[in-house]
Every structure is written in structure tokens, then in C-alpha cells.
């Protein structure tokens, strides 16, 4: 499951080796749930906001509630698909970092990430079976409000 998860999480860090692993592996991994990557995306968005706070602590009041919302999304999505959050490493294998100094650039990068996240959550919502649609709709709408809140 971890291998499949790593393959799914489209980070540059996984590379072709993960693919070889998947096909050569002797333990068949359970098929990944399509929502695992969305849960990973929530964790990654949370980490991005935390990195921005680390780079510019004056953003904490503004960004901490957004980071918490993403973390709550990851937990709820994982509960929905019945796969608990893997402990430890960040899903993509890379910890987002942010460079201190340029507040406007930090916020612009977060807005862009939220906008992309909004699109992927909306897509997942429309593709999902009915019993998953309400949570995914809230996730997509929340990400849209983050774009607004960061403006």
C-alpha cells in the first residue's frame, strides 16, 4: 500500500524506481483508493501553510486556521475511505519549505496551491459515489474560501 501510495503521489522524488518496485513486488498491494491522493494533497497543503508560518510568523493568525482545516480534511477523507493516516513522513516525500522575506510571494504561492487543490477536489467530488460527495464538496468549497481568504 505504501508503494502504491508513493507511486500515486506525483512527487518528482518518487521517480521510476517506485514503478519497478510496484511491478516486481511479491506482495500484491491493495489497490489504492482514488481518494488517497486527495488526502495526501490535504496534508501537503497543511504543510505548505505551516512552512509559510515558519518563514513569516506574523502570518500565524491568518494561516493557522487554514492549516488546521487541511489537516481536518485529511483526517476525514481517510476516515471515509477506511485507511488511517500513515504516521511520519509527509506524503510526497518532500517537506514544503518557504523562503522568508517576501510575504506577497508566499501568499501568492499559497493561493495558487489552493486554486489547484480546489480543482482536484471538485473533480473528485463530481466523480465520487454519492456517499462520498458531501465531504468532498465541503473540501472543494473550503479550498475555494482559502483562495478568497488569501486575497
Amino acid at each position: 500500500m505504501l508503494r502504491a501510495g508513493a507511486l500515486l503521489a506525483v512527487g518528482g522524488s518518487t521517480g521510476p524506481l517506485a514503478g519497478c518496485d510496484l511491478f516486481d513486488g511479491d506482495e500484491p498491494a491493495p489497490p489504492p483508493d482514488p481518494l488517497e491522493s486527495l488526502a495526501d494533497e490535504s496534508r501537503e497543503l497543511a504543510a505548505r501553510h505551516r512552512a509559510a508560518i515558519a518563514a513569516d510568523p506574523s502570518l500565524a493568525d491568518w494561516l493557522a486556521p487554514i492549516a488546521e482545516a487541511h489537516a481536518a480534511h485529511a483526517t476525514e477523507i481517510r476516515r471515509l475511505i477506511g485507511r488511517p493516516e500513515p504516521s511520519g513522513a509527509t506524503p510526497t516525500g518532500t517537506t514544503p519549505t518557504a523562503t522568508p522575506g517576501d510575504r506577497a510571494a508566499l501568499l501568492a504561492a499559497l493561493r495558487e496551491a489552493e486554486q489547484r487543490g480546489r480543482q482536484s477536489a471538485a473533480k473528485a467530488c463530481v466523480a465520487a459515489p454519492g456517499e462520498r460527495a458531501a465531504l468532498l464538496g465541503s473540501v472543494a468549497a473550503a479550498r475555494a474560501t482559502h483562495v478568497e481568504a488569501l486575497a
Binding site: P65, A122, V126, G130, A134, L136, A142, A144
Partner: protein, 149 residues
């Protein structure tokens, strides 16, 4: 205002959403009166957005040949609106409430119909965020827009 958040089917969900849109349009009347300039313009544009959703729903639901929920002459507001602070508070509440009805439509719709419901939920959530910011409510966002609390 009936509050049925687990509709049995798409038609019921969209009829509920239509009733919520009627109530939202009504509420923006007393809201706008208490606001000035930029905020009043924002209230007008919010009201126009709710009217557009209402019109689309009326068209869609009457095309099916079924019964439409009727608009009423007036709706009970959750509290009297006598000043700007109350108006902003009601605007937040109206958007949250209307968004909840659209969210309830998601599980019982699919395809383009679900996309429309999601867009409506998202628009309500974004407007609620703008009104919270105008009212200096923090945080300006909620984690799960439309989810019953």
C-alpha cells in the same frame, strides 16, 4: 423554512435548495438597507447570484412537470436586523444556510447536476467568507462549508 438536510432524491434536494434560495433573496432586502456603498453593492450582487440560481432551479424543476415549492410573501428572519453588524451577521448566516442545502444535494445528484450543486455550495461559502471578513469575524473560513454543525 423547512430544514430537511437528508433529501431522498435529487428532486427533493433541489426543491429544498429552491426554498432556501427564495429565503436568501428575501433576506438580502433587509440586509442591504443597513449597508452602505461597497457593502451594499456586494449585497446586491449576492442577491443577483441567488436570483440566478432560483431561476435556473425553477426552469429545471418545472421542466420535469412536478410540483414547485412556492415562494412566500415573507420569511421569518432568525433575528431582527437593525444595524450594520446585524446585517453582516445575517448575511453570513444566510450564505451558510443556503450552502448547507446545496451540499445536501451532492449525494443525490450526479454529473452536471452535481457540478451545479457544488458550484452553488462553493459560491455560498466564498460569499460567507467575504461577509465574515467585512464583519471582522475571525477566522474568515470554516473547515467544512455546508456541513451541519
Amino acid at each position: 423554512m423547512s430544514r430537511r438536510l437528508a433529501p431522498a432524491d435529487a428532486r427533493q434536494a433541489l426543491a429544498d435548495a429552491l426554498s432556501a434560495e427564495y429565503a436568501a433573496i428575501y433576506a438580502y432586502g433587509p440586509i442591504g438597507v443597513q449597508l452602505s456603498d461597497a457593502e451594499r453593492r456586494a449585497a446586491r450582487s449576492a442577491e443577483a447570484a441567488h436570483r440566478a440560481r432560483r431561476d435556473a432551479l425553477v426552469l429545471q424543476l418545472s421542466g420535469d412537470g412536478g410540483q414547485l415549492p412556492a415562494d412566500r410573501a415573507g420569511y421569518a428572519l432568525p433575528f431582527p436586523v437593525t444595524d450594520r453588524a446585524g446585517a453582516l451577521r445575517l448575511a453570513v448566516e444566510i450564505e451558510e444556510r443556503t450552502g448547507a442545502f446545496w451540499r445536501a444535494a451532492l449525494p443525490v445528484t450526479s454529473g452536471a447536476e452535481r457540478t451545479r450543486a457544488l458550484n452553488a455550495l462553493t459560491d455560498c461559502a466564498v460569499r460567507a467568507t467575504r461577509w465574515r471578513r467585512a464583519a471582522r469575524v475571525t477566522p474568515v473560513t470554516v473547515a467544512f462549508p455546508g456541513r451541519p454543525r
